[in-house]
Symmetry: C2
Subunit: 139 residues, 2 copies
């Protein structure tokens, strides 16, 4: 347990939770200010792949800096929760690459306008915490 | 609508959504790396107040830099979603202050170990997007 009373998750459990999740967040810099954007993502070879259109999220993610990533789930009624976070470099997924083919099947964007670009984050670490209850975020 | 097909929310609607929400995220720097942490928060006078213990989240938030904030909600079944984000300076809430008294009532930490510190973020802007469906994240 950590100092807050949460169970500390190992790397395999972090990726297991991320594999069951489709909504996460990416932290980037936009015009020198930090910004967090929601992302629809999927794991491909333990890389976070998300879809986006032209805009500040894409520009910020591809600025060359390391980006932050996070996903979480909480059920206040049962006091169950988990979170997984990490960071790493983000790069554009090559059209026609294996990652692109796999991600096009797995990433489901909720935006009404199709998202043209896929960005992958190669996480240099993952760190996770969990509190009781069921772990499945999207039963 | 923005370029992704989302409704762009005005400031009042952003704060209305945040007022109904208790789980958000804060983006800070930890040892030179960007990190996103989940937070249990409440709005007090349009400031985001969250509770935390001693640790990297507290240290990162109080490092003097502007921090990022985000909250979101999504229901994949009904294709309804919203997100609100912003950023601003974070400072420790003074024990005994009006903000502290109000926040102690409104902020409900899910961590098993009591969270000693309250941190407030004075948002310099908020920006929000929404897609169809009900807006209440915690009915």
């Amino acid at each position: 347990l950590d100092e807050a009373g949460y169970e500390v998750l190992d790397e395999d459990m972090c990726y297991e939770l991320l594999a069951e999740t489709s909504l996460g967040r990416v932290g980037v810099n936009v015009d020198g200010r930090p910004a967090i954007f929601p992302i629809n993502f999927a794991l491909v070879d333990r890389q976070v792949v998300f879809s986006t259109g032209l805009g500040t999220k894409l520009t910020g993610a591809l600025s060359g800096a390391v980006v932050a990533f996070e996903a979480d789930w909480a059920d206040t009624a049962s006091h169950a929760a988990w979170s997984v976070q990490g960071c790493g470099p983000a790069i554009l997924v090559e059209p026609g690459s294996e990652v692109e083919v796999a991600a096009r099947v797995k990433v489901h964007a909720v935006a009404p306008v199709p998202r043209r670009f896929l960005v992958k984050i190669r996480l240099s670490y993952v760190s996770g915490r969990r509190l009781g209850g069921p772990i499945n975020p999207e039963p």
